[in-house]
């Protein structure tokens, strides 16, 4: 288990740079062209008045939001003014993700990253591997627990994502989930329109193999159920994470559904201390 200030600093870079890249490539001004009247504020987003959304959801309002987010995420990724910038990045990403979900639906790809931002905002993730450290030179003396626990907490959050997803499916009715038509009909539905982000058509191959698909779906459920083992058993970890890469790529090619933010956070399972010791 990584337990150094360096490892937590790398975790900060992984999480914050994931959102930085995602914000950089997104056209905020295009969102500003959308009619605010189709917005359905989700959860805490309901606390903000309509007059605020009227001003924000404009090309200039969204461009200003993007500039502020890029500056904050650049500071938090590089570890400058980390105590403040990790908190501002967390709040800005939380707001932005809530805004996007108010247009569409509460999807889950970025949510694990949002929870990791909370963890990093309240832990000493700028003590090393940061511009703050380079600037100040002096080392802060903290116990290893101060750095090891936040990393463990982020890994546990990822384990919760998969484990709870499995349990919810089982609660909803595992027999329906293991029916031969479950996967082909869902996959085909997500491949019919041109409103998904990709337009792969592999789903249309699935019906001819549908007798075998319940086994595949059962394996995915088992993989989700046993994902928490990746946190505690290093030998199993890379098999479980490898299964995750295969799973997420499969949902991309067969269902046009992808979780790139969640995949990027698999890097939180790397023992970065090992790389540092080999220097």
């Amino acid at each position: 288990m990584p337990s150094s200030a360096f490892a937590l600093g790398v975790a900060r870079v992984v999480v914050h740079s994931t959102f930085l890249v995602s914000v950089l490539i997104a056209s905020f001004s295009a969102v500003g062209h959308l009619p605010v009247t189709i917005l359905r504020p989700a959860g805490v987003m309901k606390l903000l008045p309509w007059s605020f959304y009227d001003r924000l959801v404009t090309p200039s309002g969204m461009t200003i939001l993007k500039v502020v987010m890029v500056v904050s995420l650049l500071l938090s990724t590089t570890g400058l003014f980390t105590v403040v910038s990790t908190k501002s990045s967390f709040l800005l990403v939380l707001f932005y993700q809530g805004l996007l979900r108010s247009f569409g639906h509460f999807n889950h790809d970025e949510m694990l990253g949002v929870y990791c931002l909370v963890v990093l905002a309240f832990t000493p993730c700028g003590d090393e591997f940061s511009l703050d450290q380079w600037w100040n030179k002096k080392r802060v003396a903290r116990p290893a627990f101060a750095y090891a626990y936040p990393i463990l907490l982020m890994q546990l959050l990822m384990a919760w994502v998969y484990f709870s997803s499995c349990l919810i499916k089982l609660r909803a009715g595992w027999h329906g989930y293991l029916s031969p038509d479950n996967l082909p009909s869902l996959a085909i539905y997500h491949s019919l329109d041109n409103l998904h982000d990709t337009a792969f058509r592999l789903a249309f191959w699935l019906p001819q193999f549908k007798a075998y698909l319940p086994v595949l779906v059962a394996l995915v459920l088992l993989w989700e159920f046993f994902f928490p083992l990746a946190v505690f058993f290093t030998r199993l970890r890379w098999w479980i994470l490898g299964g995750g890469v295969v799973f997420h790529l499969s949902t991309l090619f067969f269902m046009n559904i992808f979780f790139p933010h969640q995949l990027a956070l698999y890097l939180l399972f790397v023992n970065w201390d090992r790389f540092r010791k080999s220097d």
Partner: protein, 171 residues
């Protein structure tokens, strides 16, 4: 050390307590998430409705327009945005936008509102975004943009594209 342990315990509880609540009640209340992705199994018997976004160019061609190419920030949420807009869901929330509340009043209630009451605004926005990227004289510019609604009736792996209706917006 004790202070640190207390701080981390509070952080852990503050994150996991809402997540456990969401899991128990299978409720998503942003930012509290229940991972209920694909919770409902796909049933072949159930019909499904879907949409295709298309543009009509000034040169007379009809193009499929992937929505992600217009509003990429929405990533993975575009299809549900269209579902919700067609279903007038922005009018069904407890505190609708003042312009929606006024439109509801003028229409005489939700039942009187046509399907996709705000769809022309969305299509106009998408059409303008598409045209903004082209030269004013380009033959690829759109004169109209439309959303074609189809239905897969289910029951078999065939007949995916039964046309239902179109919303068309002149630009």
């Amino acid at each position: 050390m004790n202070w640190l342990k207390i701080k981390y315990a509070v952080l852990t509880v503050a994150i996991f307590l809402p997540l456990i609540w969401a899991f128990v009640y299978v409720r998503n209340a942003y930012p509290v998430a229940a991972w209920n992705v694909m919770m409902a199994p796909g049933l072949l018997e159930h019909g499904r409705t879907y949409w295709v976004l298309r543009g009509e160019t000034v040169s007379g061609a009809t193009l499929d327009i992937p929505a992600i190419s217009l509003t990429n920030a929405l990533y993975a949420r575009t299809w549900t945005m269209v579902n919700a807009t067609v279903d007038n869901q922005a009018f069904k929330i407890t505190n609708p936008h003042p312009a929606n509340a006024e439109l509801l009043r003028q229409a005489g209630g939700l039942e009187q509102l046509p399907l996709g009451a705000r769809l022309p605004d969305l299509l106009r926005a998408w059409g303008n975004l598409y045209n903004e990227r082209l030269a004013p004289t380009s033959p690829q510019r759109l004169k109209a943009i439309r959303l074609d609604m189809y239905r897969w009736e289910g029951g078999s792996y065939a007949g995916y594209d039964n046309f239902i209706q179109t919303w068309r917006q002149e630009l």
